[in-house]
Amino acid sequence: MPEITYREAIHDAMVEEMRRDPSVFLIGEDIGTYGGAFGVSQGMLEEFGPERVVETPIAELGITGAAAGAAMVGMRPIAEMMFSDFVLLAMEALANQAAKARFMFGGKATVPMVLRLPGGSGTGAAAQHSQSLESLLIHIPGIKVVMPSTPYDAKGLLISAIRDQNPVCFVEHKLLYKSKGEVPEGEYTIPIGVGEIKRPGTDLTVVSTGIMLHRCLSVADRLAQEGLEVEVLDPRTLRPLDTEMITASVKKTGKLLVVHEAVKTGGWAGEVIASVSESDAFNYLDAPMRRLAGKDVPIPYNRLLEEAAVPQEADIEAEMRALLTNQY
């Protein structure tokens, strides 16, 4: 199987879907000649022309409103926010219109749009260009929130998102664009709402996705050399959440750690933990369920402070060890 990057996987998914379905189009800032802020849509203007690769002014509410309207009349737009932070500008169109239209029109209208959101810190882009707003988005019924962590998942999930009848927020991590992984050529899909056990284990369940998943896997591999078997789960979709996979794993290990970059307060880790607490897995818990998440601060510009604000491998290792050895 060929190895390609996360960026190429997303690019391939969009190109293949646009070739397959003439209703699919791109809309966003600098996505044409420049090829997108992170180069995801390079060469697409040349292949599909300005009719299907629509460059816009700096107007996120306009981009999202146009996408929602186009979706309601039969198109399948893929709108790009240059940085996920700017989705806050688009909230009226996304949360008040796109998310609700299908329900308010009694199912007569569908909104099959994708909003691509490059998020996360680690690039020195400071507080307004480094946020992880996925936790904010899962609070809105009517939209789905997908967060792939590998090139394989990114391609399969983006194709599913494009074909979905509902607005899908597709959260990409900026640090993952250059990461590589095996991706089969041609069409395949990964169902939205189905997680994956990225590493089986028996002693501790860790739920994580995006860049944090890779840090968790790396720590888990190290701990395995000491005989500590951590099971690492990637929900891949934050809404709807694959609670079945998570509760089954917790019933096996008795311990749960959720790791995410989004700030801790109101973060999606709390939602995962609450769902386990409410499930029959509660009776199998042998330690407090723990969250390791971004500090409750805006992401600092200073590199050292930026690193300190989000979980690093050392933090993850300390947290896993504490749970594995009953320190909590």
Partner: protein, 445 residues
Amino acid sequence: MPIPFIMPKMDMDQESVTITEWLKQEGELITKGEPVIVVETDKLTSEIEAPATGTLASILYHEHEEAPVTQVVAYILAEGETIADLPAPEKPEEVEAKAAETPAQQASAPVQLQVSPIAQKLAADLKVDLNQLGITDRKITRADIEAFAAAAKEKPPRPSATPAARFTARENKLDLSGISGSGPGGRVQLADVKAAQAAATSQPAVDLKPAAVLPAVKPGEIKPFTGTRKRIAERLTQSYQDVPHIYLTVHVDMSALSALRQRANADKTRDSVSMTAFLVKLLALTLARHPYLNATLSERGVELLGEYNIGVATALEEGLIVPVIHHADQLPIRTINAQLRELSAKARNGSLVRQEVDGGTFTISNLGMLGISEFTAIINPPQSAILAVGAIERRVVAAADDEIEIKPMMSITLGCDHRVVDGAVAAAFLRDLKTVLEEPSLALL
């Protein structure tokens, strides 16, 4: 006139009982003959029935207090009567205390409580018994009721344990408070429960005592020494100090009796007969030929009892209890066996009645099933002898022709009151008992 509720005397040498529970509260209607008080005596727990019908009032001895027998413990009010109709309180220390404090109040019993209206309403809402507040020297206020209700709500702290530990303990009926935790701050982990469970199941099967988990011992913790436990201690101390014990041991070849028991138990359609049942029967038959072993020494002299009622010491968590097989000499062994089973079950669930523990003339204490080879026991007064039975073990013995043989042997130790039984008398009894145990068919003669 209110009817006094008098604590009955249930035993000749009994002076007091411990009140375990009032089944009815003050102000409740009670009917003659219905159980009202649960008491604990030296031997067992009994229910005391209402002597008359009426309203229960003025409880003088509360739960976990010792109440003297033949004394008033409460009153029963007839219709129309109030606590104002009661005579002066008769609980001696209360009278004394009151006499010391406020002599004037002594006459005006019972104490009329001073209660503010809001406190009265709150007490009714929260179901607080105003008498339990113990405030008689001033007006009871709302704050008193609230403080009392809050204190009553406080439960003993739950043991710290993970949900999995709790769940597993619950499923396996293990007491979490008895399991020491390895987690932070002593929290009980799943592994601790599993270890306790393994320990509980790997203990030797003791049919008289439920296998317990490792007890959590807190240094310096004081366990109450009351009720059954205290009475056992008193009786044993008295017996050990007053009665000059002598001990004699014989080793019995159990080949024949074991074979007989095996044959009896080959019939799987019937309950298997325990070795204790055989022992009780053969012991009772032997006692009939040695009346001084079955006697009571009193001021009047040595009373030869003439009935052969064998008590079988039974270990319970809260202490020893000795249910009795009456007229064991006249009962078939299967009947004795059935009675032993029933009494043992009743002892464990605390439902033995007086007649089932009274009237013992001789006691047998068997620690054989716990692997004890031989031991001595303290005489259960007013009896004059006790038989301590050890385990049946395969031992090397010298046979008649000086050959070495391996035989199932059992050591039995007779403890007896030397004032009543001399060594030679005891030896004669033991010789006869050994003979019949080794050759049970002789019992037919």
